[in-house]
Subunit: 375 residues, 4 copies
């Protein structure tokens, strides 16, 4: 492994921690075409970013993302800043010829996504959106089985992304509950994930009917007295028709007590079904209608075998992996693509397609009717 | 128990078997104000109904429902014939002053439901619609807990009724797949059940956005060559808003391989959540947000304790009951109401309300927009 | 079905209720060679047995079992009295030429079992011990799969029968906790069941090492002041070697809080494994090592299909059955054997074999060493 | 964090990978009194150890453990070589004044364990045995709840450690299946783990009755023709009595098809129960008998909250962790003890106690009777 990829990472909060971990871990477990070097971490607050550099294992730090993007010794720009900054950074990075890994959602709206996509296409740089859940081994296995025809024609996609962290009305008006900062609520944050998994497993959406709702309209301000208005959705859901003829139901909420990070996905086809729950992410349930009639049932596949995607790189069968590993898998594929200037999936085009579905749901919530995906 | 209720049952197929069983069993396990007597069973085919009478334990049989309804020695008319006959029989029975137990759906449309409701109101007879799933002990317990405030304000209702019995395209064009005989497909047959459970647990619907779809449009004719058109839905689903402010997602399908009779219901409120799966019908999952933070989790309540609704009448804790028992519970409450001329729930008005929701979903499928419930 | 079998049932408490239900139900659901007639129920307390006759659907009652056994119009004697009376009644019934169905355990000790077996053999009457759990559809399916070779050579049997009804030290000294009345505690009551399932699924025991223990040694007397000594085991368990070379672990207790009637059984063989939990009695988990490597996992078979043993007689797929149905299945097979004078399994010889294992465990508890099964 | 602990690790195979990962990760996620430096990795094969050093992130490598133990710049010796070398290395390390972390089992027999314990006591060095499963958050939470009295008096401990990797008779005679190299089979390898968890949760064993068995007696030799004798157990199990009065059942096997690394542990007490399965290691099931009668059931605690032991250092609630994290937790506690010269648990004395139980089971297998723990 002679080659090295020098990483510049913009942003250092929750996602910065998960990304740093993946950059550190990936060459210890996966065969790579280049070894990533944690070169520079970037954030606006010097004290914070300096501490993060030391804590997370970066050689250097910077408070100016433009400077990082310009540095000739940097090969990769990893963007995990707030959504409203993605487009500007990504476009600058593309112009500078860097390979780009960008957190989801790709941008604030479809227009921004299009500009970003144009930029990476023009620059011909490797680009990826970090929909890490595609590389849960169970999800990658699901995709493989569907591609292989194990499910036959797909009839149904149903998915729920349930959380419960803002049920308490005393929970304050954090930035994620304000539209001008977050874009949307559960919609862009978690609905986006099960929309991506739908595209990954079933294909492109054709049209949607959506519902978005805010249960608690006012919340205490952070750090000062008084209340402010919640301007994003607490829950977002939709009925969907896919181009393939399949139909779907998707629901995302932050108001399902007891569901911490529950992502349930089920796909029913003409030959079989698959079912998944992220709270048991090392398992995939599989129903094969070709099994003998008396011995048919959902198989509880513990996805920890060497024949399963990604997971063989870790530990022996039955020794489970967790959340952070999905990033390591994503970064391994990104590195191998970037090292050889190739494409990798999901890329900025996937980010755009996802945004188109999100916006169709938003239009539907307003128009109170079905809306076609515009692409 | 001096009193006897003489039962006349119209219809003797699948539901006739389940009803006969309940009439036979109910006084062996439940304290009743009257003992039911399986007096006469009625069907059009003399040979068939005669055999059924013998097999199912009825004293007499008849091939003329009008004659049964007229008989002065009959106290109760139990209707489990095809849907298109419910209204006529029920209205005649009401006029004859009989207590009436009618299978769901109540009738073919809202107009019929209204006429039936008017008839029983005028006659002041005990009337009930057989939404037996309300009397699954776990569902009755759920209702009790919600009434008691254990869940606080309800935010979410989500329910799925999944079956898989017509995935095979060679499955023939039975009457249930023809609109003029069955009214609708998954919609009236199983979607109706989770609509009823929604009304039972969360209250009245306000508006819906629906999707109905037929995956396999032509099927082999029964008993002859050739193919015919499927004129009902294979799947029906809706997004919903309730009057209380709660929101809901409901999905019913006959195309979910591996799901035999899977009814999943989840309710999330401000204080806790409940979750249920009919394939494990003796269990109710309950999340209590007031539990200590380190020891919070969905409780797996095995609903077989003497303190639980209905189930104490059967066997000791941990000895589970099954599908048929839900009818016995329903009939016990019906008998006690009928014996004293009282009301019982769910009644014909509930049948009407359910039909109103079904029709709103159908209107929405056509209009491609949200539709208010008309009542 | 011209023939009738007249039933005389001795005993009318908990098991009497379950048996009466089975006698009433069996001809409504199963094709039979004879129809059972609930002729006479027998108990010592006239008031009690008279009420039971009325409640449970028996034509006549008696307070003298000898008289019932003598009656020439009785074809079958069903014994569900306390254990210390089984032998005397069964031997008298055999002499009178009756077919006999006897509750488990067959008798108080091996010697009694031998005398009973000799009596039924001499009289050549149909005889059966009511180990109803063999006819849980999932257990019958398990046996069928093992017979068919689906598991290959059996290596392991592990089973637990866990209850929790006497954890409270204030629970009184009922007859089941007194050796001279009950014979033993958890051992004969529930350990006996998983010993029977072991013999059903894996074959004969060869030797055992046992442990029996009483956690709460004194308990309040019933109906009077003071405390009395508990003279039976609260828990009984053993390691086992089978003649086939398989090894086993069995554990029974009444001290496992939260486990109401939890019977967990797992069998591992060279080709696959089976796993079962009575609290989910309509399911059987099956691991087939011949499944493709990437799609191997325990199948969650919902044992409600028409191809599954017994259960097709009841309701459509996914509509579960419960505890009481296991008796109906048992009685159906008994009736068909008795009507034609044939053998049925498990019979009194199985009762004897079970008792031999129970006694070996008891000897081991005293000798503190492995004990061979004496047969 | 001014201080640094220089680590010398002896052994670099499977456990070497897991340990290296933990040394690398621990300071990124846990507050520590010293930062570990991956100084030198040691193995006999120069080529292999050199590649491992590069792959796993060690600065230097060595082929002579004695040289590593002598190096004055090394603070900690981490031993994960084969069992027959533990004692010699550990005793040398103790004499050299190093803190010692040793893989389980501590040594080949009780005598060796005693010598090792004497050495670390004399040298007063921090010593730990790597029973990493104690620091699964769910297990640490279980211990906390038991200590807090949530379970009351403990009645039962039951545990199974099930694997399936040598069911195939063509699986070769690897070193783990040869007594002179491995000491024992499932017994020392995995039975040891559930014995340790028993001691952690319930306390000291008093006596055991054991069974050890080898299903497949001959296997193909590795790398050459012919067959050789398997000289270790395929399965080991025991009944147990604890000093506290509790009783236990433990079973370990490599012959349970479909069970990859299934560690099931259940503890029943007078106030509640706990249940755990390693294949779902982020969950702990808890039954609280003080819950209201109608709402009692095993709680499914997702052990990913900040109030739970260790896990708050990683990701938000519902984002699960995996196998490798148990090592990181163990190493964090070891480092903080070693940095301040304190004790940490489990230590070499725990290793000795574990070995005493293992040997009692082996004696029992030979004597065919109960054996007291000798200590």
């Amino acid at each position: 492994m002679p080659q090295t990829l020098n990483i510049g990472m913009i942003g250092y909060k929750f996602m910065g921690r998960a990304h740093s971990n993946a950059w550190r871990q990936v060459d210890k477990f996966f065969p790579l075409k280049a070894r990533p070097l944690l070169k520079v971490i970037c954030g606006r607050d010097e004290k914070g970013v300096k501490a993060a550099a030391s804590q997370l294992g970066w050689r250097d730090y910077s408070t100016d993302w433009r400077e990082v993007v310009r540095r000739p010794d940097i090969d990769v720009i990893d963007i995990n800043t707030p959504n409203d900054t993605h487009a500007e950074i990504a476009i600058a990075a593309a112009k500078a010829g860097k390979a780009i890994l960008c957190e989801k959602p790709l941008a604030m709206d479809v227009a921004e996504c299009r500009r970003m996509l144009a930029a990476v296409r023009k620059a011909r740089v490797t680009n990826m959106i970090c929909h890490n859940y595609r590389r849960i081994p169970a999800m990658a296995l699901a995709r493989k089985m569907i591609d292989h025809g194990d499910l036959g024609t797909i009839f149904h996609y149903r998915a729920r992304y349930l959380q419960d962290w803002i049920v308490d009305p005393k929970f304050p008006l954090v930035w994620r509950l304000q539209k001008h900062l977050a874009g949307s609520g559960a919609h862009g944050d978690i609905h986006a994930h099960i929309i991506d998994l739908a595209r990954y497993l079933v294909g492109e959406f054709s049209e949607v009917s959506g519902l978005m709702h805010t249960f608690i309209k006012k919340r205490p301000l952070e750090g000062k007295r008084g209340f402010g208005r919640v301007t994003v959705d607490d829950t977002a859901m939709c009925l969907a028709r896919f181009r393939s003829g399949a139909v779907g139901v998707l629901e995302a909420t932050r108001f399902a007590l007891g569901r911490k990070n529950s992502i349930q996905v089920e796909v029913n086809g003409s030959k079989g079904s698959l079912s998944f729950d992220f709270e048991d992410m090392n398992r995939l349930k599989y129903y094969n209608n070709a099994d003998p009639a008396a011995a048919r049932g959902y198989r509880d596949i513990i996805v920890t075998e060497s024949v399963h995607p990604y997971v063989g790189a870790w530990w022996p069968p039955g020794h489970i992996i967790g959340y952070e590993h999905t990033f390591v898998h994503t970064f391994a594929d990104f590195i191998n693509a970037a090292a050889s200037g190739k494409k990798v999936s999901p890329d900025f085009e996937d980010g755009l397609r996802n945004q188109e579905v999100l916006e169709a749901v938003e239009r539907s919530e307003k128009s109170r009717r079905w809306e076609k995906i515009r692409s």
